[in-house]
């Protein structure tokens, strides 16, 4: 089973690498291949389309101005489930693609316990066991997996309606669908913030596909060690000493 998924992902990455291009300059590391990047932006596109069509249905007295962008209320209602299916479909492929690096490890539990220092900015370098994804990213990933399952089941019930599934099923699905959306909405703010201005240098991982080595040894030291074979802390110290005329920072 796992090998079949690996073979599928391997083939997809090769195919898309032959179509697209990832330039890795000196002092950079390959972070995401073309296939991963395309999946990410397909997921993002369908997520926001579904989010904005859903807003008008979720809180119309606040968000009814969203629906005209999609051709009005009835069309928003018709399109929303298709956007949702697109979201779940592309995220499913992404899930297969990322299944292995997203598996939880003991280091992740430690990382979560350390979250206060990360948020307060005291933690300048991530703990050495932080791999390709940190625990926060993994938590968000598995939240979206769970959310997609809830979306899919409740979404189909809401799509087909009370005529097919009965009034009670619709009334329950309506609440669960909303809760799933609220959690994901809260998560997307954090995701966008951390991948852009919150941790500068991250965004290019999903556009060009490459990140700087400094970014790698700062945020994902274990991954840095795995791909370069060098020790992340030593590399960091070396870079610090190389900075022109810089006295050693006392931190």
């Amino acid at each position: 089973m796992a090998t079949a998924i690996d073979r599928f992902d391997e083939k997809a990455r090769r195919t898309f690498d032959s179509i697209g291009r990832t330039e890795v300059h000196r002092g950079e590391l390959l972070r995401h291949p073309v296939y991963t990047r395309l999946l990410h932006w397909a997921v993002a596109l369908f997520f926001f389309l579904a989010l904005f069509t859903g807003f008008g249905i979720y809180l119309p007295w606040l968000f009814r101005w969203f629906t005209p962008f999609f051709g009005g209320g009835p069309l928003s209602r018709i399109l929303h489930p298709y956007f949702g299916v697109g979201f779940v479909f592309f995220f499913f492929l992404q899930m297969l693609n990322w299944l292995a690096p997203m598996l939880w490890s003991p280091g992740d539990t430690k990382w979560i316990g350390n979250i206060r220092r990360v948020v307060s900015g005291e933690e300048t370098l991530d703990p050495p066991e932080t791999g390709f994804f940190n625990a926060g990213q993994k938590a968000m990933f598995w939240e979206i997996v769970a959310g997609c399952i809830v979306y899919l089941i409740t979404g189909i019930i809401l799509w087909m309606g009370a005529r097919t599934f009965g009034a009670i099923a619709v009334a329950i699905s309506y609440v669960l669908h909303d809760i799933s959306a609220i959690i994901m909405l809260g998560g997307i703010f954090i995701h966008i913030y951390l991948s852009t201005i919150g941790e500068p240098g991250t965004f290019q991982a999903m556009t060009r596909g490459a990140v700087s080595e400094a970014w790698a040894w700062t945020f994902h030291p274990a991954w840095y060690k795995k791909v370069t074979g060098r020790d992340p802390r030593e590399a960091y110290e070396k870079a610090r000493q190389q900075q022109s005329g810089a006295p050693p920072k006392s931190s």
Partner: protein
């Protein structure tokens, strides 16, 4: 939709703020009284409804009963439901009940509806659908305790009995009332209809030995603007599934009006939170940071 000059909107689905024009004029609450004990099942009201509302032909389906079709349809809003009820003494009762929108005082369809102005409740008690604002989500179907709203797959809109709001707005009785030959259908103010219904129930109890005769006006949804006189008010279920205590699902009451806005606001706090984090704590940069960015804290430059 009825004439806006004569019908005042009291509640509007998915609408922020008060209903415009509410309270400008006082109005009788109207009511339709259906006396199931004198209904002969002639279907004149069904025909009148289809005629007045100019609905296309709807193929009937014979299921070996005296019922035109199994359920109401998007283009067939008024159906005499027929039920054979076996009595304990071995006899059977033929029950005819006019099934249609009940025009609840507290309409579940309106509570469930997310589209601004798609469902309107007038001060005279009529609950009306405005198809031009309907988005076809069918939440009203799951909010209705009586299983009344019907989806038209062609127009992707939901339809139901309007209580002839177009006629009532002009001072006329609904079409079904006008067509009823036995007088089992009556129309007037809610107070008058309740009075007549209670008198009729008393008559059934005293003169016909129906101890359980009574009026169906369920208070669990604040009463309805279509009320029934039943032979046995203790068991409305036997009249083709009339619920004894109809209720609106809590997901359309407490969830929609309380938790939805509250949790929606919390989600938006996520956006506020990251903004505050950027201002107060600032970004985490790849280390080591370039030296020219090592600024002295607190000197304001």
């Amino acid at each position: 939709m009825a004439d806006r000059k004569t019908l005042q909107a009291e509640k509007i689905s998915g609408h922020s703020g008060a209903s415009p024009g509410f309270g400008v004029q006082r109005d009788f609450e109207v009511c339709k009284l259906v006396d199931t004990t004198t209904c002969i099942g002639c279907k004149a009201c069904e025909v009148a409804c289809v005629e007045w509302n100019d609905m296309p032909f709807s193929a009937t389906m014979f299921d070996n009963t005296y019922q035109t079709m199994p359920e109401t349809r998007w283009n067939f809003w008024n159906l005499i439901k027929f039920n054979e009820h076996p009595n304990p003494d071995g006899t059977i009762q033929w029950l005819m009940r006019k099934d249609q929108c009940m025009h609840c005082a507290d309409p579940g369809c309106l509570a469930a509806c997310p589209a601004d102005g798609a469902i309107v409740k007038y001060t005279n008690g009529i609950v009306d659908f405005n198809q031009e604002n309907c988005i076809g989500c069918e939440f009203c179907v799951s909010g209705c305790p009586f299983n009344i709203p019907r989806f038209n797959p062609g127009t992707k809109k939901v339809y139901k009995c309007t209580l002839c709001s177009d006629r009532v707005g002009q001072g006329l009785e609904p079409a079904c009332i006008k067509a009823c030959p036995t007088g089992c259908l009556k129309f007037g103010s809610k107070d008058d209809m309740k009075f007549i219904a209670n008198e009729r129930a008393r008559q059934l109890k005293e003169n016909f030995g129906m101890e359980n005769a009574g009026v169906y006006d369920p208070q669990s949804i604040g009463g309805t603007h279509v009320i029934y006189v039943l032979h046995d008010a203790t068991d409305p279920e036997r009249y083709g599934g009339l619920p004894k205590n109809p209720t609106i699902p809590w997901s359309y009451t407490i969830w929609k009006w309380l938790f939805k806005p509250v949790l929606g606001t919390f989600a938006l706090f996520g956006g506020l939170g990251v903004l505050l984090h950027y201002i107060a704590v600032g970004p985490r940069r790849p280390q080591p940071e370039p030296q020219e960015k090592e600024t002295v804290h607190g000197n304001g430059d």
